[in-house]
């Protein structure tokens, strides 16, 4: 029987350079959860349908379940753990999820926040329809997306200095 094949991956995870031997068949989800215990990376389907495992790779959001661990070579990966400051400080989008009651069971939240982080970092104003489309790669069964949408939209407006505009923030 064929022996397993391993490869050495060198990458940056949440700002720290790491080296890890991985099974060449392993997904990035497997590596982040099993080798680095970054358990904010959630498994809801493992085939790219639900978005719970989303992480940033060089600033772009990916379903980590569809991304092979070996492809992470040389990449900068950010998980939700990396969005939180060294002393537990929350980023504005995390705070907004708390303030807007956007969290219930919490299982889809890490993925949602990572996608939101990517969108918000573009510093672009999106209409409601555009914002919904950008967030549509995530499934949530608890919230009806209502408060998640509010949290992302308010954070976008706040970053753009448009939060006080009564027309936009309706």
């Amino acid at each position: 029987m064929a022996k397993k094949q391993y490869a050495l991956v060198t990458c940056w995870i949440n700002g720290r350079e790491v080296e890890q031997m991985v099974d060449v068949r392993a997904s990035l989800t497997d590596m982040l959860r099993n080798d680095f215990r970054l358990t904010s990376v959630k498994k809801g389907c493992e085939v790219g349908e639900c978005g719970a495992c989303n992480v940033l790779i060089d600033g772009e959001c990916f379903n980590s379940c569809l991304y092979l661990a070996v492809w992470a070579e040389g990449k900068h990966i950010t998980t939700l753990e990396g969005l939180t400051g060294p002393n537990g400080e929350l980023s504005d989008i995390q705070q907004a999820f708390m303030d807007e009651t956007a969290i219930q069971c919490g299982f889809c939240i890490p993925g949602f926040i990572m996608t939101a982080a990517e969108i918000l970092d573009r510093k672009v104003y999106y209409t409601d329809d555009e914002l919904r489309k950008l967030l549509s790669g995530h499934l949530c069964r608890c919230t009806g997306y209502e408060n998640i949408f509010k949290a992302v939209k308010k954070t976008m407006l706040r970053r753009l200095g448009m939060l006080d505009d009564p027309y936009l923030n309706s």
């Binding site: 029987m1 068949r25 970054l38 358990t39 904010s40 990376v41 959630k42 498994k43 809801g44 389907c45 493992e46 085939v47 349908e49 639900c50 719970a52 998980t79 939700l80 753990e81 969005l83 939180t84 537990g88 929350l90 995390q94 705070q95 999820f97 708390m98 303030d99 009651t101 956007a102 969290i103 219930q104 069971c105 919490g106 299982f107 889809c108 939240i109 890490p110 926040i113 919904r132 489309k133 967030l135 549509s136 995530h138 499934l139 949530c140 069964r141 608890c142 919230t143 009806g144 997306y145 209502e146 408060n147 998640i148 949408f149």
Partner: protein, 764 residues
């Protein structure tokens, strides 16, 4: 002070926003063996043999166990409280692995391996030989003579039949001049689709079995595992960490019993079962597809002379929650629109589909769809506006149900309907949309529901908790009614703070994790009961703790207990408002008192012998593109009377989630099966159309806060109610827009095309 009624941030929000919250898989021991299940790939048959030799040769495979190895014990899986009355106990019809395969996806064998790949390869290497039997998927066909039989003890596959007889239906329909409105209404098989799949791990410790599981009902799971393995219940310890949603699927013993048995077969080593999404759809539980036949007899003034309701509930392969779901659905009819002459019958019928169990709404989304569809047609038949028809006929103020003794203390239904009418601008829009005659037409629909708050008097209602005064003056609280994402822990913290007179809900540490070795016995999360039932035991235990605190304060302050109270975390002399000491000072002194040391704690159980009606309605506004057979939901509001709100922001969020589920139920979701093989066709999140953020308009949630008189905090059910009336409201909006009745959900393009063609709205 005054924490109840405030929109406080969830107690678990920070950890969830930072991804720290641990779910079962995040707690997995690194050495856990993988258990993967061989699911049957036929819909019905008998396993003749399983050749395990190839699987056993695979490197990393530790053990293969089949349906020929399991103990000959059948067990029930429903997450119901146990009943000492054998007549009220759930049907025990499953083995840990089954030789008689009853649906495509039934469990016939397991492979236990050192790693996931070996376990999966092992499953693929198993050679199962079946004697195939004919199968049946349709509920009424399964009742016919000669239909394939699933369970020996249930002829015609009928698990149970019950009825309701009120007045004299046959005589009543003889009244001259009655208008008959008859319809058949079909609801689909759908799945809960919590984002965290079910899973668990188990190991032995000091001769007992420990199971960490994604479940809503740890104490009930302990009992079921004990029954399934033939072990004393106290041999089993269940630990329930945070879970990623449940919605009723995890109100059932899923793979905990099998996982527990597997650890005993490998010397107590840790074993894990993690359901894939595909398995979750098929081999967990689904919502009952119920078919309704309704005949309403109306007088010209729009009142009901008589009604007949037949309900056929598709149970799937195993009993699970069984007849209780359709019984609840049937029971809603006589109370929803009271009528003097009613004849109702409900059958629960086994078919070769996945087993149906509890799902958010427990029969009510189905009943509401059928009843509210029929009622809209009744309104049309007598020329009344659908809203006016409901206002006239719906359960009135003062109505009391003879069985549950629930009372409609206020005029809740009409108050909810008035609020919805105002928000959606019903009268103006209905008049305006009636003018639409083109290919795109707009419409508004309304639907209502009622819901029980807990399970009394059908089953036991009990809640226990324990409170401990910490040395810093905060309080630790444990309760068996579980947090499953709905926000129960936060509501408990708010209630506990108020009963004890603490400064803030943050001074209460609710132990979210249930451990059956430690947590006071509770029944778990289901029936929209948690806030209502835990409220009683929180109040009882809180008052007990307070009494103990004040008794100790008497020793230290020499003041009479009745002259003292706890305000903002301080012992206060009420006669003059003087602060005598803080709770922290009291706790420290009590703990380290060299002559009378005490750790101050209280524990109690409250047996609830009340129930409460929860009410609500949905208004939906749609735009129907007739040639495209496309419905766009433009606007939607739910109005609920769930009593006083403990946490308005969380309540609103609950309603959003339920509305979303109702939109999916109405417009997209349906688990499909191949008629030729019984194989599920779309058991994944790509092909099963779960609503995304693009499928929703703004979801408006409003409340009528009529305090529930029987409740410890004025509150009653809200968890499930928001999922009940959305689908029929959408159905009635399409009816309003097009004049076409759609009597099955989901109302997708396939169904609309068929119906619009039949009604001549679409021509070749």
């Amino acid at each position: 002070m005054g924490e109840v009624g405030k929109s406080q941030v969830r107690v678990d929000a920070y950890d969830k926003a930072t991804g720290r919250t641990k779910y079962y898989e995040d707690l997995m021991p690194q050495d856990a063996l993988y258990v993967r299940i061989k699911h049957a790939d036929i819909a019905h048959g008998i396993v003749k043999s399983i050749d395990t030799s190839a699987a056993e040769q695979i490197d990393g495979v530790v053990k293969v166990l089949t349906c020929f190895d399991v103990p000959d014990i059948t067990f029930p899986t429903a997450g119901h409280p146990w009943s000492m009355d054998p007549g009220h106990q759930d049907v025990a019809d499953r083995h840990l692995l089954n030789r008689h395969v009853r649906y495509w996806g039934d469990d016939v064998a397991v492979v236990i391996a050192e790693n996931e790949v070996a376990a999966m390869q092992g499953v693929r290497a198993l050679k199962v030989e079946y004697e195939e039997l004919p199968f049946v998927l349709d509920v009424q066909k399964a009742m016919e003579d000669g239909a394939p039989q699933l369970h020996e003890k249930f002829p015609h596959n009928i698990l149970k039949h019950t009825d309701i007889r009120k007045g004299d239906y046959q005589s009543a329909i003889q009244e001259p001049g009655l208008i008959k409105v008859e319809g058949w209404y079909d609801t689909p098989t759908v799945q809960h689709c919590h984002i965290e799949n079910h899973g668990c791990f188990a190991y032995e410790e000091n001769g007992r079995i420990v199971i960490v599981a994604s479940t809503q009902i740890p104490h009930i799971i302990r009992r079921v595992v004990g029954q399934a393995l033939g072990r004393p219940w106290a041999d089993i310890r269940i630990i329930k960490p945070y879970i990623g949603g449940g919605f009723g699927n995890k109100q059932d013993a899923l793979y905990e019993p099998l996982c527990a048995w597997c650890t005993t077969q490998v010397g107590g080593r840790c074993v894990r079962i993690d359901c894939s999404r595909e398995e979750t759809f098929v081999s967990n539980r689904v919502r009952h597809a119920i078919r309704f036949h309704i005949i309403s007899w109306l007088r010209k003034d729009g009142t009901f002379a008589a009604r007949k309701v037949e309900c056929f509930s598709n149970q799937g392969a195993y009993a699970s929650h069984g007849h209780s779901i359709v019984a609840k659905a049937m029971g809603s009819f006589p109370q929803h629109y009271p009528c003097d002459n009613m004849e109702c019958d409900a059958w629960t019928v086994f078919t070769n589909r996945p087993a149906a169990g509890a799902m958010r709404g427990y029969g009510m989304p189905q009943a509401s769809f059928a009843d509210e569809a029929n009622v809209d047609e009744c309104a049309k038949a007598v020329g009344m506006d659908p809203l006016a028809f409901r206002m006239q006929n719906i359960m009135p103020q003062g109505y009391e149900d003879g069985f549950s003794h629930n009372v409609n203390y206020y005029d809740s239904f009409r108050e909810c309907l008035e609020a919805g009418r105002k928000y959606i601008d019903y009268d103006r829009k209905v008049a305006e949309y009636a003018k639409d005659t083109g290919p795109i037409r707009r419409g508004i629909g309304v639907a209502t529901f009622w819901y029980n708050t807990a399970v009394y008097p059908i089953s036991l209602e009990t809640s226990s908790n324990r409170m401990l005064l910490n040395l810093d003056g905060t309080v630790t609280m444990q309760c068996g009614e579980t947090e499953i994402g709905q926000g129960a822990d936060t509501a408990y913290a708010q209630m506990t703070a108020d009963v004890l007179g603490l400064k803030s809900y943050q001074d209460v540490h609710v132990v979210s994790c249930q451990d059956t070795d430690i947590t006071p016995t509770g029944l778990g999360a289901y029936a929209s009961r948690q806030t209502y039932v835990a409220g009683f035991s929180i109040r009882k235990t809180g008052l007990l703790l307070k009494e103990k605190i004040l008794a100790y304060a008497q020793e230290l302050t020499r003041q009479a207990p009745y002259n003292m109270d706890i305000v903002d975390g301080n012992i206060v002399r009420v006669t003059d408002g003087k602060v005598l000491m803080s709770l922290s000072e009291l706790a420290m002194t009590a703990q380290y008192n060299p002559v009378h040391s005490e750790h101050i704690t209280a524990e109690s159980t409250y047996t609830i012998q009340n129930n409460a009606y929860s009410f609500g309605c949905t208004f939906a506004e749609v735009e129907v593109d007739i040639p495209m057979c496309k419905v766009t939901l433009k606007n939607m509001i739910n109005v609920h009377d769930c009593g006083k709100l403990i946490n308005p922001a969380l309540a609103e969020a609950q309603v959003h989630g339920g509305m979303s589920m109702a939109i999916g139920y109405g417009m997209g979701e349906q688990l499909l099966f191949d008629e030729k093989t019984g194989k599920p066709l779309n058991n994944n999140l790509l092909d099963y159309k779960l609503s995304t953020i693009m499928d929703h308009p703004h979801l408006e949630a409003q409340f009528i806060q009529n305090a529930e008189p029987t409740s410890a905090f004025g509150t009653k059910a809200l968890g499930e109610p928001p999922a009940c009336s959305g689908a029929p409201a959408i159905r009635n909006a399409i009816y309003n827009a097009t004049g076409v009745t759609i009597d099955q959900n989901p109302m997708n393009a396939h169904i609309l095309f068929k119906r619009f063609s039949e009604e001549g709205l679409i021509k070749d």
